[in-house]
């Protein structure tokens, strides 16, 4: 892929290991990141790509010019192009959602339409390492479990149907992508990333991360990404340990003798997972402490849950007793 002194295409494991013949939607805003993604895919030999661009109507005439740029790019590359247009601010007011949520719903609806038209339920998005660091920091401030970022591959429900979302660029820095484009003489639309029209995001990017860099004298993006990868590894080990522990009985209740055989941290994780699987939201430290106290046969036998249900211990089992549905599980 090297061409006459040009910098080599960046090393992207997902691209290297994926068959070229598959069909993929590609979300292209027109910014450096998504233009680089599209061109890297084409350079690697992917041909069955459908360029998808949603105009969020957030930047006036510039938004229209972004859409035009993306259409021309698709034409140059000989790829089909789907463009859509949603006034995200109007949608936000109409639905009483935040700008971020309204934009996400608009994109999901648009991608779902593209998926139906092309019978292709998988999409590539251009989130990169700098996006990831912002996400991790933002999730941390919002109270995520450890350091959590976007996953490289996940399934997201869009307009009621599952869509496989892949982010091949999560390991690459924004500057590396723009550098590769520049070296090859490829243009992009500056500021065309309408993926994150949110003040918080922009302030994390433009104020918080530069301040952390200045204070620490180190690159906070690399440090945060690495921390999130470490957490993901620890979480994977915890998930594996939990799966191996087999704490549920055939009725899906927590089997106390099995639970008591586990080390304390894993008991806690098992209870957290059990509550999460029963859609008990807002499981904070205090609730988890009280739930853990149920494991002890000499402790309390019932814990009130948010939403009115109860976690009950009886006959060597723990289960959720639903107030509305009468006595569940017993």
């Amino acid at each position: 892929m090297q061409s006459g002194g040009m910098p080599e295409a960046p090393h992207i494991p997902w691209i290297e290991r994926t068959p070229r013949r598959g069909r993929w939607l590609v979300g292209v805003s027109g910014g450096a990141d998504s233009v680089a993604l599209l061109r890297l895919l084409v350079a690697a030999g992917f041909r069955q790509l459908i360029v998808c661009h949603l105009d969020h109507c957030l930047r006036g005439r510039a938004s229209t010019a972004d859409a035009r740029f993306v259409r021309q790019l698709a034409q140059e590359l000989g790829l089909p192009c789907e463009t859509g247009r949603t006034d995200v601010r109007a949608l936000m007011r109409q639905r009483g959602e935040s700008l971020e949520t309204a934009a996400r719903h608009a994109r999901h609806g648009f991608f779902a339409k593209c998926a139906a038209k092309y019978r292709c339920r998988r999409i590539l998005l251009a989130h990169h390492a700098d996006d990831q660091a912002e996400t991790v920091l933002w999730n941390l401030l919002r109270g995520s479990h450890g350091l959590k970022g976007m996953r490289e591959e996940q399934t997201i429900t869009m307009a009621g149907k599952p869509m496989r979302v892949v982010r091949p660029l999560l390991g690459l820095r924004r500057a590396a992508l723009a550098g590769w484009l520049t070296a090859h003489g490829h243009g992009w639309r500056e500021d065309a990333s309408n993926r994150e029209p949110l003040g918080v995001r922009n302030r994390l990017r433009n104020e918080a991360l530069p301040l952390l860099r200045e204070i620490s004298g180190r690159d906070p993006v690399a440090a945060i990404i690495r921390g999130a990868q470490d957490c993901a590894e620890m979480q994977a080990i915890a998930d594996e340990a939990l799966a191996a522990a087999r704490v549920l009985d055939p009725q899906g209740r927590l089997h106390l003798p099995a639970l008591r055989r586990l080390p304390p941290a894993l008991q806690r994780a098992a209870l957290r997972a059990f509550l999460h699987d029963h859609r008990i939201m807002a499981v904070d430290r205090d609730l988890l402490d009280r739930a853990c106290a149920l494991i002890d046969a000499a402790g309390p036998a019932v814990v009130n849950l948010p939403g009115g249900d109860r976690l009950r211990r009886r006959a060597g089992r723990l289960w959720i007793e639903s107030i509305t549905a009468g006595c569940g599980g017993s």
Copy 2:
């Protein structure tokens, strides 16, 4: 402990569960946090306390006044008081250390002297939740494994001997401590915390955390503390899983058949722990990737380690081959 409309003493699990009769050194700078720690201990019935104050000579006459304040406080409470004096800036220049490192060495040396004099090798320090959030953030920026803070209890080598260090206030906010002192009419020395004479710390506290609060509209200290607790729980599960995996042979080498039976994330953690236990520093992601490739019998059989040693696979084992000591382990 409630006294006529006064706010109750804050809930401090360590204080509640610890026998009162034990002897403890207490590090007291004269700031609100350490004065609160000392007074809370006395209020809870601890009597065998030795007040330890090191004047770091960092704030001129104010430093001398801090030391005087602490001596008076100890006298008021009827406790023995040890004060020391080290010109930390001179020490820093003399040894070519950072101010933070010089200050830590000075404190450790001083605490070790107090420990010898009173035959007491355990010390209570007043680090609280705000300190902890700064530590976690700073560790993250420096590249810690996940989110890591100070531990409530740990053993630290001071002047060559082990010292048990306990931080009972890690769960409490600075404001809560100052509020409790104020409500009881107890004074303290403002700015007397010479525990962290470091620019980075102060800037994280005075610039980064307030900015993160402003951007997110949430309390970053609480979020960061919670994230670190979650990471500590995940780490505990991972440690438990690793201990149960039994991957070492009687010679202390990694037993490949055992290693290969583990799920991938745990294999990786086992290799990380093995390298760490052999004092291989700077184990980054790349080195760990290459080390993991050794698990595959069809892959490479040797990986160069920082410092010149090598990690070698032979006859179903992995071990560290020391260049200096000839052929180790085989």
